[in-house]
């Protein structure tokens, strides 16, 4: 919100520079984001006289002029090219001479335009930042002396303070509201009487504020408020015999500087009053409204054509101003076209009302309207001060339109009692505890009086004060603490350090903490294996889901997504991985071929047994763990490698990722990690990824007999979705996803030490020929169970082909035997091998080789 520094000064004498004022107000909680100079003096600008004008010989639209002006007191004449039609010999104009910095980045230079020299520029008001759009150059009164300071012609220079006001301080969203804060800051009293824009009216043109008490009541119209909860106060004033015309220049200029276009003398007053006092007001054409003005909710089927010509269909939640013939305005948001003021209007019915902020906010959202009035009413407007506003606004409209106020306003104020006065009691004890230091009673008295809190009353260690009606944000005892603190100055509050001990978090469920620690450890393990960590967006593209053959019901979806085509919350981390691969491939980034991410995926609400969540009361204390799950995703692919003179990277294949997973498990759960891999999968993770992988490539990761994840090779049809085809179709992408929640459901305890044998080991190879489909993993799993002497077993060779019958494979196991208490003899080892073979043959079919 922009507020003029000069405008504030019309209320209070200010010694502070605009920058200093901005800083001080920021420290008081009214943040100024920028101080913008308005109409700053422009060095090099001077009054000039056009002594000659002729057509540019080489351009139809341009003129050549000779202009006389003063340069350091001496008269000089320069030639200037000018494009404006309204330039003529004999005119006084404003000339930007060579070297003038007209605006940042716009320096006037000596130039040749179509072959003719031009030493300066004749300015329009637009070019000087004084008008939104100019039709031609600015022609000055012909008696303007050449030595006139251009600044006196251009109007005062000023600064606009751009405020970012927090939603609780709506009372500062106007010039006068800000003036009240400045008066707290400066410890000065201030009043609106005879100050501000009003003073300009009074001073320059003799405007007189009406004394309503001396005027008769009007009987033309009756006002009815259906529900005081929607409309706190409604005042209406008749202004008769006005002439709608242009506003005086000072008024349109003031509005222009605040970014508002001048319309006519009635609308401009309503806009000015809104900026000055923060009270939206509306002017009806009194001849176009009926005899009963009702503030009521709309009825089903009612419509209204708004001032901007848009027709809206009202709902029974919309608050209206209506007469006996139907709606005449959308309360607090926008007037109706029918009842609006036009150039023919003679009598005005001026509305100054205060509506419920929630109603207005909802109506604006419902009809996608965003008006100045609505924005103010979304916050709370002070109904008490609105009595002053109607006096000033009424007088201003009557004055500018040369009309009359013959009756006093109608005033329905059903909530008067509520806003009459509010007292809050603050205990010194709470103040001291909250701020961490003690203030004296005198200091507090002083702060409260600066803040305009009246009737202070100490009772023991508590003080009770009356809160002014414009401070509706202050409701509780603790709200006064912030007031004390900000007047005292946050930066003046002492610095201390609290004492914190470990017990401060002891009751937070240790299970949760261990799980978090476990997750961090998984992350560290992935990193140490050379996987780079990525972070991806949680929403995925709807088209990607359909490419995978997944209906949207399989996804959690917000009711109000930002983009309709990226509206699904992921049920797997895959999408982000493929995006990452796509981006790096497209950009030909080298060196990335292994990544991981631990993050959340979501289950749709409907997928859970009962839609209990949709029928929650106003209070739910359960957590959402049922709907969000932590997953670990890992991918390896044939990325662009960094070429090396000696090293060639190994081929990317399944063993790369299964090996990584096995190592992570060994590190996390210990040597006996209990993880196995089998073809085929059917967990939830697998269901969501089924169409991602090439047929038959899906592998399930089983841990303690529980399917906790999958590995697979990404299918070409999926790569194709990302346009990876050209780059990557021949390159493998392997992806694995594991369910972290299941993995971390049991956190391994402390490891116990297993004494290792001190006697030398004996190694034996065992070559077996078995069916090609037979599981080697099963034998690997079985062997240690069968022999207590077996301390290590590795698969060293798998062979199919010559010398091996077709449909069979030869597998070589390397076995290592050690006895805990003696050196094994060769014969002991041989015997153990025979025993193992014997045992294995009971369960598996194979021959020795």
């Amino acid at each position: 919100m922009l507020i003029s520094y000069n405008w504030i000064k019309e209320y209070l004498p200010l010694d502070l520079s605009p920058q200093k004022l901005a800083e001080e107000l920021t420290l008081m909680g009214l943040e100024v984001t920028e101080v913008i100079p308005v109409c700053p003096p422009i060095s090099g600008l001077c009054v000039g006289e056009v002594i000659e004008k002729w057509k540019h010989p080489n351009a139809d639209r341009l003129n050549l002029t000779r202009i006389r002006h003063l340069d350091k007191g001496r008269e000089v004449v320069v030639q200037v090219v000018c494009g404006a039609d309204n330039i003529a010999a004999g005119q006084k104009i404003l000339l930007a001479t060579v070297g003038t910095q007209l605006s940042p980045g716009f320096l006037i230079k000596k130039a040749k335009i179509r072959g003719e020299e031009s030493c300066g520029m004749v300015c329009s008001k637009e070019e000087l930042g004084q008008e939104e759009k100019s039709e031609g150059i600015w022609v000055l009164p012909s008696d303007t002396p050449l030595h006139t300071d251009p600044q006196t012609l251009r109007g005062e220079s000023d600064y606009l303070l751009d405020f970012d006001i927090t939603s609780n301080r709506w009372d500062c969203m106007s010039v006068f509201g800000m003036v009240r804060e400045v008066s707290v800051l400066l410890d000065k009293t201030c009043t609106h009487e005879g100050r501000g824009s009003f003073a300009r009216w009074e001073g320059r043109s003799g405007m007189i504020l009406p004394n309503f008490n001396q005027l008769p009541a009007q009987s033309r119209v009756r006002i009815e408020i259906e529900d005081p909860a929607d409309c706190y106060r409604y005042q209406g004033l008749d202004i008769t015999g006005i002439k709608v015309s242009d506003s005086p220049e000072w008024l349109s200029g003031r509005l222009f500087r605040h970014g508002i276009r001048s319309i006519d003398n009635v609308v401009d007053v309503t806009n000015l009053i809104l900026r000055e006092y923060g009270q939206p007001i509306h002017a009806f054409d009194a001849d176009k409204i009926g005899k009963v003005v009702t503030i009521r909710l709309a009825r089903e089927g009612e419509t209204l054509i708004l001032l901007d010509g848009k027709k809206i269909h009202l709902t029974p939640e919309d608050l209206l101003i209506a007469d006996e013939n139907g709606p005449i305005a959308l309360a607090g948001v926008m007037g109706g076209k029918e009842s609006g003021v036009t150039s023919e209007t003679e009598h005005v019915f001026l509305e100054v009302a205060v509506f419920d902020s929630k109603r207005i906010r909802q109506t604006m959202q419902r009809h996608q309207l965003n008006t100045d009035a609505g924005r103010y009413f979304q916050h709370k407007v002070d109904p008490v001060f609105s009595a002053e506003v109607i006096r000033i606004a009424g007088a201003a409209i009557a004055h500018l339109g040369k009309g009359n106020i013959l009756t006093r306003p109608l005033d329905v104020f059903p909530t008067q009692e509520r806003f009459a006065s509010k007292a809050i009691t603050l205990s010194l004890d709470l103040l001291e505890k909250t701020l961490g230091f003690l203030l004296t009673k005198n200091e507090i008295d002083d702060f409260f009086s600066r803040l305009g809190f009246t009737f202070p009353c100490w009772e023991g260690e508590s003080i009770t004060v009356n809160i002014p009606s414009y401070r509706q944000d202050l409701e509780q005892e603790w709200d006064l603490i912030e007031e004390v603190a900000r007047v005292y100055g946050y930066n003046n509050i002492p610095i201390t350090y609290p004492r914190i001990t470990n017990g401060f978090g002891a009751l937070i469920k240790s299970v949760d903490r261990k799980r978090d620690e476990g997750q961090q450890r998984f992350r560290a393990l992935c990193l140490s294996l050379g996987f780079h960590e990525i972070l991806t967006y949680p929403f995925i593209e709807n088209n990607f889901a359909s490419r995978l053959g997944l209906e949207e019901e399989k996804f959690l979806k917000p009711m109000n997504p930002v983009w309709s085509d990226v509206s699904l919350l992921r049920n797997s981390l895959l999408f982000g991985f493929l995006k990452t691969i796509q981006l790096n491939s497209e950009r030909k980034v080298t060196g990335l071929s292994r990544v991981f991410e631990i993050n959340k995926v979501f289950t749709p609400l409907a997928q859970l047994e009962k839609p209990v969540l949709l029928s929650l009361g106003d209070h739910d204390r359960r957590d959402s763990s049922a709907y969000e799950h932590n997953r670990l995703g890992l991918a390896v692919w044939e990325g662009e490698t960094i070429p090396h003179w000696k090293y060639s990277p190994r081929e990317v294949d399944y063993a790369e990722i299964s090996g990584a997973i096995a190592e992570i498990f060994r590190q996390f759960f210990g040597e006996d990690e209990g993880v196995y891999f089998y073809s085929g999968a059917n967990s939830d993770i697998a269901e969501n990824l089924r169409n991602t992988f090439t047929p038959n490539s899906m592998v399930r990761v089983v841990w303690h007999d529980h399917e906790i994840g999958v590995i697979g090779m990404v299918a070409d049809s999926v790569k194709d979705y990302f346009g990876l085809e050209s780059i990557l179709v021949k390159k493998k992408i392997l992806y694995a996803e594991l369910d972290m929640d299941s993995l971390l459901s049991e956190i391994p305890g402390e490891r116990s030490f297993h004494p290792f044998p001190i006697y030398p080991a004996v190694k034996r190879d065992l070559a077996m020929v078995m069916n090609r489909e037979a599981s080697i993993q099963d034998i690997l799993k079985e062997l240690p169970r069968l022999s207590s002497l077996l301390t290590q077993v590795n698969v060293t060779d798998i062979y199919e082909g010559e010398n091996i019958p077709s449909g069979k494979k030869s597998v070589v196991f390397n076995l290592e035997f050690t006895a805990p208490d003696k050196t094994l003899k060769r014969t002991d080892a041989d015997q153990e091998v025979l025993r193992l073979v014997d045992q294995l043959q009971k369960k598996y079919t194979f021959t020795l080789r």
Binding site: T166, A485, Y490, T496, F504, E533, P538, V589
Partner: protein, 328 residues
């Protein structure tokens, strides 16, 4: 000529004596230049051969070439010896080794972890939260009833009329206080969501870190102490830190904390939002606010990371371009 040949013979004897003491491949190369290089006696002698009378030319040539072979043998032999002795091929010494790669933690998470560690050391315990929150935790318990204006500005993703993607990590204040009545010192990181489109400075999801301390006798002055030290730890000791009033429904008084920052127009850059826990919030979780007070604070992780590393586009965090990831 005879003289030169004699001198070359002496050089050869000299080299035989010295060679075993040369153990640096570079020194060996130098020696080689001395005895066999362009300016060596041997090269000189070879060039001179053409000037000799035919009758003595062939014999001298034979002699010189024998010396040359002897030199070369000695050098070749010793080069081989040095190689097998050290096990390192001198030619490989300056070449790039095998391309090892340590996995890089994501820069955003590195910064998050550093912040968490800082507060952990002070005694704040890390607690993780949920990305889906009920309306109660995300708004109501934080003193934002249904018609609260602050709800508009947050513009949340609603999953159902009563569930949202959390718009802030502040719900963890409530969840922690429910589990642990005061004294409590907790820090909670996590992802939050706002209905924003994505550009260089906005994202519909980003990360926050929330902290809260509630105990008897915790005042605004303690908030100042803890958070000034935090700013100085991360952005420079002795740094000026500024507090100004702000508004959050769940703290009262509330403040915005800025550090001095020459790059900004007014010289200050906002780092944290904070405040004293609003007694209304304490009441919501059944805590006696006349006995216990506390402060809470929150910060945007992306913002801190961008500032620490001079990153100018928030999208870089979610794009995973390796040229970005590998820098940190």
């Amino acid at each position: 000529m005879k003289k030169i040949i004699k001198e070359i013979g002496e050089q050869l004897e000299e080299l035989k004596r010295e060679i075993s003491s040369i153990d640096d491949p570079r020194a060996l190369v130098e020696k080689k230049t001395i005895y066999l290089g362009k300016k060596s006696k041997l090269s000189f002698a070879l060039k001179q051969l053409g000037n000799l009378a035919i009758e003595i030319r062939s014999e001298a040539g034979k002699e010189i070439n024998e010396f040359k072979r002897a030199f070369e043998d000695i050098f070749a032999h010793h080069e081989e010896k040095l190689k097998t002795d050290s096990g390192i091929d001198p030619g490989e010494v300056g070449l790039p080794g095998y391309p090892y790669q340590v996995g890089k933690a994501h820069p955003l998470y590195r910064v998050r972890d550093r912040v968490l560690q800082y507060f952990n050391r002070l005694g704040f315990i890390t607690v993780n939260g949920f990305e889906m929150e009920s309306d109660y935790y995300n708004f109501q318990a934080l003193n934002m009833p249904a018609d609260h204006p602050a709800r508009d500005s947050q513009d949340s993703f609603y999953l159902s009329p009563t569930w949202v993607l959390r718009t802030q990590t502040s719900p963890m204040q409530i969840r922690a206080l429910e589990q642990q009545p005061p004294p409590l010192a907790m820090i909670s990181p996590g992802k939050v969501f706002r209905r924003d489109t994505i550009d260089a400075t906005h994202s519909y999801c980003f990360h926050q870190i929330e902290g809260i301390l509630v105990d008897e006798g915790v005042g605004f002055s303690d908030l100042r102490g803890v958070l000034i030290e935090f700013c100085r730890e991360f952005f420079g000791s002795g740094l000026k830190v500024r507090f100004r009033p702000d508004y959050f429904p769940f703290t009262e008084p509330s403040c915005e904390i800025s550090i001095e920052y020459p790059g900004k127009k007014d010289g200050w850059l906002e780092i944290l939002g904070a405040g004293m826990v609003n007694p209304a919030v304490l009441q919501n979780v059944g805590i006696d606010y006349r006995r216990y007070t506390g402060f809470a604070f929150g910060m945007g992780v992306e913002r801190i990371a961008m500032l620490l590393h001079g990153i100018n586009d928030i999208r870089l965090f979610f794009e995973n371009d390796y040229r970005f990831l590998k820098q940190f």
